[in-house]
Structures are given as C-alpha cells and as structure tokens.
Symmetry: C2
Subunit: 271 residues, 2 copies
C-alpha cells in the first residue's frame, strides 16, 4: 500500500491531545475528541470506508498545539499528493489544517524516522492574564529573574538522563535523551512594552519523555521566581527523582513547532 | 455619585461586540452576549443590585478584540480602586480582564474624553490558515506586493473625509477624521521564516467611523493583491463613494490596543 506523510497544524484547545482514545471518559459520553481520531475519520472518508491508522511524530497532550506535527499513514490506493492535502482540508475542521503532503519511502514512519523535534513554550508574565492569549500561552503573575531562567535552560543541554522530568507511570525503556538546543529569551509585552512581558523557551532534542518540556518550563519558572536555585534543580536532575522536581507548566503554552528527518523529505507546501 | 474608569482587555471571539443589545436575535433566544452587557452584569452584583451603565471608548464589533479598551461608569458608593479591579476580575469570565482601575474626575467620559485611539490589525498570509491564529488574525491566501500596501497606508494619513470607508446606514454627523499614524509592516512567518508571513497594520486617529479600520485593511489587501491600484483607491476616497470601496477585512484580525486621553490619567495597574 502506498505510504504518505503530511505536516499538520492544529489548535489543541478543543482536543484531548493527539492520541486516539477509544473509550469515553464516562458511560454515555462520546469518545474523547483527539487530533489522531479526527484525522483518521477524515482519511476513512477519503479511503471510501477502509480504516486508516495514522502515526504522529509527537503525542501532544490535551491543550498542546502544533504548527508542524508530522504524520504518516498507508492508503489503499495511490493519490496525487496535492489533491490529498486539499481533500483532507476539505474534510477536516478549522482547528486542524494540513500544511503539506508527500509520498514517503517504504518503511518510513513519522515517529521512528524522526531525528529531532523542536518544541516552543510561551509564558506570559505581568499582573493580569491577557484574554486573547489564555489558550496559547502559560501565565505567571509577576516577573522572573532572567539570569536564573537562563541558568536552568543551560542545565538541560546535552545527553543525560531526564528521569526527574518524566511524568508518573511512564513506561519508556530509557529516559536518556539528547537536548541539542535549549534557549530561553524574553520578549516585550505588546501592550505595555515591558521588555520582560513574555518568556519564550525553545528546545530541540532527539526525543522527549511525556510532559518533559512542560517539566523543563516548570524548572525555569521555579528558579526564575526564586522558589528553587539552579543548584537545587541540577541536583534533582542528577538524582533522577521526580518527587524533587517542580510541577509541569500548563499545557496551553506549548507548541510542537518542527520535526526533523534525515535526509529531509522533499516536502512541497500546498499551493 | 463617584465616577470610575477601567482599562479592559477581552477576547472578542465569543462576544457579539462591545455594545449592549437588549433584544435577542430571534424569539426564544437569549439577548446577545456583549462585553458591555457582561461588565454591567458584574457591576450590578458589585453595586448590590443597583444598575450601572458603562460607557466604552470604542464600540468594537463582534469578533474584534481589545488589549486596552477604556470604560467609565458611576457607582452608588466609593470603592478602593485596587479592590474594584480585583472584585470585577473575580466576577468576570476569563475572556474579559480588568487591567487597571482608577477614580475619574467629574464629567469625565471614556468615549467623549478620548483624544485618540490605536487599532492594530493582523493579517496572516501564506498557503494555509494556521489553526491557532484563526480567531486572532485575518487571512489572505498568497502574497501581497509590499510597495502597494505601504502606498495605500500612506493615503489614509491626515485630516480628511472618510465617507467612502463608513459602513452602510451610518448616522454620524460628520465623516471627517484625523489619522495621526497609519503604518503597515510585514513580520516573518513563525514556522517557515518567510519574511512576509504576516501583515501588521497600526492606525491612530482622533476617532473612527464604524468598520473604518477593517475598510482601511480592505483597501490595503485590494491594492496589495493587485485587484485595485492605489490611484483607484485615492479617487474612491476623494469621491466619498462607499460603492467603490473594497469590502472590509474580517473582524477577528482587529484589536483595540490603546485609548489616549489628555491629560493622561494616573492609572495604576492591578498589583
């Protein structure tokens, strides 16, 4: 069967995350609305009723957004890739958009073939949470100490065991990951011009544990607000003790921006 | 009765605009949800059942957002202004936030006392509409010619009759307004880095006709996409003929950013 890959953007606000969940949260309710489930529903119609299983590069949580999620799937028949992207956008709701579509080589898999992923977290600071940003940025009331935030961002770089940042009940075989880039910066508040109006954190790694980026931001926040020192966090990271790590930041500030493959696939954006 | 002023931010997505509408759109329905109506509802509770009428600086349309709307109202009793802001935020939904509150001098009026207003319009360009931006930016599929956009932005500057840009059925006594600043610029697409990923248009004037900013952006779009020339638009503006003017841009891209007063009021943001 021919294999395809698509790049997908979505607004995670009204999704219970990426991954398909068959079971309703309580009896009599519908199955949770997930990005994978909605994309598979659209492909089911496109494939004239043949069920299509979609693999996503990153299993984003409820409320997490994507600008560049990548997904792969088999179709029962060959399709023109431009037509595939347009047809999917015709079937998908406005909170999911296909940005590009391409044929993939045999054996290619959006998750296993990925070499790195870039996540971005936006955190608004200041006295009041701006309504237009409430679904697209985390929020911390008050300022952060920039040097401490940068110090903790530097802690995350390199190949190390991130067990302290994994969510409870994780079943992965190893919690060692390589962080290629971990960069925090401040942007001005668009209304007041306050130079520390927002914290933007971007992180690229060969893989992420569940809630790892949100736990990383939890660490930035904890040190930046003075609750912990960078040394405290360095020790907790080294000890691999989840109980010592600050809580993860809110989901809504997180966006899966980019997934890298080697070699990069020849992706034509939709015309 | 003591007079107060507040600065208010809101997400216009789920509001039928600023202005209170008593009548339901159809029999059996509730009255439309408006920002003024919701703020007055919160003040009614704060004033222990005494109805409070709120005057807003700008009557934003359905779907239009605000970072710095200003409103004034009388209260039946004196209130500490910090307590007023916090109490209102406790009663208001998350899509409206009070950013600051202050006492106002007798006779002061958020609408009549305003000397100028700054509106901002964001328009996303590119092949696909990004889901996370669909309620916060207008959208145009494809590129715009920057020189033409800037040429039309320059047309709007100065004191002139904007009758061509007024919405139908307007009942204002004069359509002459003074535009102090009219500035268009392009910002990169955050995902692809395309330097013309977004158009940002900011305009400051002593007042605006209904749908005037959206009509201004309609003009930028029309010239930028090549549908009209700047000369066409200059002639239509001079002739004051609404029928010759391109349609207004979508509401969701527009934000009321700032309202200026002279002298500027001593506004302490909420601690």
């Amino acid at each position: 069967m021919p294999l395809y890959r698509i790049t997908v953007a979505y607004d995670g606000t009204h999704f219970e995350g990426w991954q398909f969940q068959a079971r309703p949260a309580s009896p009599g309710k519908n199955a949770p609305r997930t990005v994978q489930g909605v994309v598979e529903g659209a492909l089911l119609r496109l494939a004239a009723g043949a069920p299509v299983r979609v693999t996503g590069a990153g299993r984003t949580d409820a409320g997490v957004h994507a600008w560049g999620q990548v997904a792969s799937f088999d179709l029962p028949r060959e399709m023109d890739v431009a037509a595939l992207g347009s047809a999917l956008n015709g079937l998908l709701p406005a909170d999911i958009r296909v940005l590009s579509a391409a044929a993939a080589p045999p054996g290619w898999n959006a998750r296993r073939s990925a070499t790195s992923k870039l996540y971005r977290y936006e955190l608004d600071l200041g006295p009041v949470r701006l309504p237009t940003r409430r679904h697209y940025a985390g929020y911390h009331r008050g300022a952060l100490i920039p040097e401490r935030v940068l110090e903790v961002a530097a802690l995350y770089r390199g190949r190390q065991d991130f067990a302290a940042l994994a969510s409870a009940g994780s079943t992965v075989t190893t919690s060692v990951r390589t962080v290629f880039r971990s960069a925090a910066r401040f942007e001005p508040d668009p209304l007041t011009g306050d130079p520390q109006g927002r914290l933007i954190y971007e992180v690229t790694a060969d893989g992420f544990l569940r809630k790892m980026v949100r736990s990383m931001v939890g660490g930035l926040l904890s040190a930046g607000s003075g609750a912990r020192t960078a040394d405290d966090l360095a020790r907790a990271l080294k000890a691999g003790n989840r109980g010592l790590w600050p809580p993860p930041a809110e989901a809504c500030g997180l966006t899966l921006v980019w997934v890298a493959y080697s070699p990069p696939p020849p992706l034509a954006p939709l015309a």
